[in-house]
Symmetry: C2
Subunit: 231 residues, 2 copies
């Protein structure tokens, strides 16, 4: 028999997954908009932000409600706290997608130029991180979450590389400074999405293992490799 | 007589204040380092990040412990949830300070140049936001928190202004592109600190009023003015 607590937690999990889907979609659309210089897609990202914000609020309220009424213990309590943290991170993924869409809207007004940065490749890596972080949550698998922490380093390297090449471009070709800056900021936004995926993965590990892997505490794991300053 | 729950919540409040002090100090030091091109201060910011990370972990553990053992209700439960969210934001303020310090370390290697951006003024506004957000928490005063939401718009405008002028500088004087970019990224980091102060203020209002002002729900307030996409 399902207890009210179990039912509440199932509902919470469902809603968080729905929220995750919205956040993933927002990133993917913003990056497609970048690739295709597509203002209509930018508009969709901006419009969907309201949905993501509303979903965040609902999840927080449900979590509060469950804590207040059911007073869950130990593993259940950890799960609910993890959900509220993952929830915040997903909302911020939505915010980053809006930022990317805004940069694309700026770019589209300027002449298209070739730039030494592979944003689609970076976007694919970042999307995979978000997707895998959510999978690790659905399946409650700490080792999947662990893989996300490792992917974060790859994205950080891509961002550093983009940074160096784009600054060089600004120096060499001042006439495309604005476009290069837009691309640089998109790369930064993607890096931040990756940081949120990392946070989610850490929260999953916290929930599954009952250990705090944040800030180099998970000695028996490679979590340290995933620890990075968020920008 | 103080109950275990009351004692736990007092302890939680004290630790969060200490954490807030560390985060504030980190921002102030990073900005002073910018003003004075001071590598020693950058180093202090980098070194103190470990303290902030440890403080975040301790607070989360204490909050979990109180929830598990004391099963607080209503206002107390809201307070503890607010603390865990404020805690994350303070840790991220520390991360932003590290980012600023790293930008300063890059700048110091380059020739000093005059740039059309008043970083110290922006830093003062942002520090005031963090300080006031923490005050609103200590005193449990929603109207102080409300003032923080309004200050966020001012900081956003400063960032936009800096953005426009610094891009123009990059175009007009390609030889100082790197310095202009460093300043632009410092301005962005400060804007993000302001966003975290805004998040904290929203959490204080959530706790004090029991209402969720996030995402334009607080109809009887000016909270809408403070709602902004976080970058």
């Amino acid at each position: 028999m399902r207890t009210p607590l179990n039912l509440g937690m199932d509902e919470l999990r469902q809603r968080l997954l729905h929220m995750g889907g919205l956040a993933e979609q927002a990133v993917d659309r913003a990056c497609q908009a970048y690739r295709e210089r597509d203002l209509a897609r930018c508009q969709m990202v901006l419009e969907n932000e309201g949905l993501i914000n509303a979903a965040e609020r609902d999840i927080d309220e449900l979590a509060f409600d469950i804590l207040a009424r059911q007073q869950p213990l130990a593993g259940d309590l950890r799960f609910i706290l993890a959900v509220t943290k993952i929830n915040s991170d997903l909302e911020r993924v939505g915010d980053q997608s809006v930022n990317i869409a805004e940069r694309v809207m700026d770019m589209v007004e300027l002449p298209a130029v070739q730039l030494p940065v592979d944003i689609p490749r970076m976007a694919a890596a970042v999307s995979a991180m978000v997707r895998r972080a959510l999978e690790s949550f659905v399946e409650g698998r700490a080792e999947l979450a662990q893989a996300v922490l490792e992917m974060d380093n790859v994205v950080d390297r891509m961002r550093d590389e983009a940074f160096i090449l784009l600054v060089k471009t600004m120096n060499d070709r001042p006439e495309v400074t604005r476009q290069a800056l837009d691309a640089l900021l998109v790369a930064r936004n993607l890096e931040r999405v990756a940081d949120h995926a990392t946070n989610i993965a850490e929260d999953v590990i916290f929930w599954v293992r009952g250990a705090d892997v944040r800030h180099n505490v998970g000695q028996d794991t490679d979590a340290n490799a995933g620890e990075a300053v968020k920008e």
